[in-house]
Symmetry: C2
Subunit: 363 residues, 2 copies
DNA sequence: GCTATTTGCCAAAACGTTTTAGGTGGCTAT
DNA sequence: ATAGCCACCTAAAACGTTTTGGCAAATAGC
């Protein structure tokens, strides 16, 4: 197989010809203009003609060629999702949960997702390709880091995009995020209000903004309660770490004063539970639960206090925001996904009813 | 907002004009034919011309408009994946693992994945749309059932596709599958060879062919060992069942004679382990492990015997097979993903070395 | 009854490529 | 010298839509 095709080389050809707008026009004795305008619901075509066209289109099985449409309209009805291919993060269960929401939202608006992935160093090249070759109308960016280069790039190129999460520039683009700061502020206050003075916080990788914001929430709650930094032990699950919850919990419990642990995710809380039991300690556990639909974590519902949000809902909101930009030309805006509280009954949860102090509303 | 556009309605327009092949031609004083052929490596353009074109293309930032290419070539470099949207299966962790392989394979061949999802009853409509609107070159079908309508449809339409798994018609299309039958035949023989006479088999939903083939493997191993059906207890995890491994294990252990359990997945084996310990029983456990990269199951490696396969490898093989069909026009063929055995050391594993009887090679 | 407006339709251009079907000029072989 | 060939290049058609600009007939306004 030569890689420099000769002039007579035959490329593999696609499927055979479909019914086109021309066939319809010929069949009905109308112009293709009229067919097109009838099918697209323009007002300058008569009612009986519109009916005739619709009927013939159905009968003859006409389906518009999307690529011709995309060529002339410069709109694709495609949304890009570029997944970064770290051995682990590639298949992060959170990804699939968000994607489930995205797919539902996309379907509702008759969009498709164009999915691809590459290693972090080649990720931007894919963005560049999509931006320049008219493959997609907009982008969804997941798991931003501070000063994320993907975001700089898309801002530069002035393409529609929405970020799942927030970072420094978030005023300038559309985003959807859970209230990481507020939730962890409140989780911390909950434990403090219930007498805990030495708390461990087992967080995600603070390379990502979500984890950073969570730590800031914890930090500020501590400060607002008049406690010193000595009261908190922060441990981070950096990337390739299996069973992180177990390992970090074991580490945290070395400090005998620790009486409560805040986990960044229920999965880590479950893993950590094993370590707590093995150590024979009684520890108050609070966590943020992402409602991963493939795992039934209900058996743990009576062991942890948690605040829950729906990643699926976030996914749907991402697409909705992108629609607003692409279809209606709306200015980008930010959306916070709501959370619900599930404190354990033995706790005094009145602190959750108090609003956050005005200077503690975001990060 | 009216939904019947007037003739002067302005549709949201896409990004501004890029550099086209015409601009290149004008700049270099060549015809667009020559530009096109130079860029596509045809042999009837001079060496210095080719250089000039390549250089100018780079300098001017030329990127071919994919939609124009797709329109004329009728090839898209897109592969469709339609995910069925059951509340749970939508986010099945196996999906994302296979997808990781698919994405790597696609990237390698410069393809993208067009991803969408809908409820099972509207799934076929999406296939129909993709088949007729020139959005994709081929399809990947996951988790087939026996006589799967998606497969009938694609066979009828004569579109390239590859199935992850096998069913009745598999001789007529391309597939990639693990040796479900053989693996479970051997798992069963392993336990029998080590003295177990009452075995529970906790299987997936036999509505799917993979689970059916697994049960057939178990059944035949039993028969070949001269054991009656009384020796096996089959339990199925049907769809919306959280913590299925735990529940079904508890059920299975009601039979006090059970001394060994075969699980269809490591996740269920892990769940079941809790039930076994709670019952205070000593049970030999064997499972098939799908190597889910987001979960570190290595802590359990010394508790179960298992046979392992890589879903990621399967994903890459799916795309590779589709390429063969789309690019080279190769006839569809089937591929079995290899498995590796990890029997616990206290077991006599010699039975694993014996080949399957010739009449037991498939299902 | 005449003009102005609205209604319903259309021819042609445009989108940005690839492919078809050559054409030209120089070299080789006779 | 001339036929034949080869190396290099091109004009025009095609892919299947949407959009532009307009035109003719019907209706409304007076």
């Amino acid at each position: 197989m030569s890689n420099t095709p000769k002039r007579d080389d035959i490329r593999p050809s696609g499927p055979k010809r479909n019914v086109t707008i021309k066939d319809l026009a010929a069949e009905l004795g109308l112009s293709i203009t009229t067919i097109s305008r009838a099918l697209n619901g323009y007002s300058d075509v008569g009612e009986k003609t519109r009916k005739r066209v619709a009927e013939a289109a159905g009968k003859m099985g006409y389906r518009p060629n999307r690529n011709a449409q995309r060529l002339v309209t410069r709109r694709t009805h495609n949304i890009a999702w570029v997944q970064s291919d770290n051995d682990r993060k590639f298949v992060d269960p959170h990804f699939v949960e968000v994607m489930a929401g995205v797919l539902r939202g996309a379907r509702a608006g008759n969009y498709d997702i164009v999915l691809s992935g590459d290693t972090p160093d080649r990720e931007l090249a894919i963005y560049d390709r999509y931006v320049n070759d008219n493959s997609v109308d907009g982008f969804i960016v997941d798991l931003p880091r501070e000063d994320d280069p993907r975001i700089s790039y898309l801002l530069d190129m002035q393409r529609p995009f929405v970020v799942h999460g927030r970072e420094a520039r978030s005023a300038r683009y559309g985003w959807v995020d859970v209230d990481n700061y507020g939730n962890f502020y409140s989780l911390t206050r909950l434990l403090i209000a219930n007498g805990h003075r030495h708390i461990a916080f087992i967080n995600g990788d603070e390379h990502f903004t979500y984890a950073l914001h969570r730590r800031h929430g914890v930090r500020d709650a501590l400060a607002d309660s008049g406690l010193s930094a000595d009261s908190i032990t922060v441990l981070n699950a950096v990337h390739p770490m299996g069973n992180a919850g177990f390992k970090l919990t074991t580490l945290a419990l070395d400090d005998r004063r620790i009486s409560a642990i805040i986990y960044s995710s229920t999965l880590m809380a479950v893993e950590g539970n094993g370590a707590i039991q093995r150590a024979g300690r009684k520890v108050e556990v609070a966590t943020m639960d992402d409602e991963l639909h493939y795992l039934d974590l209900s058996p743990f519902a009576d062991q942890f206090s948690f605040v829950r949000s729906s990643l699926r809902e976030a996914g749907a909101a991402l697409v909705a925001e992108l629609f607003r930009q692409c279809e209606n030309g709306a200015a980008p805006s930010g959306h916070t996904v709501p959370s619900t509280w599930h404190p354990l009954p033995h706790l005094d949860a009145s602190v959750l009813e108090q609003p956050l102090p005005p200077n503690r509303r975001g990060t």
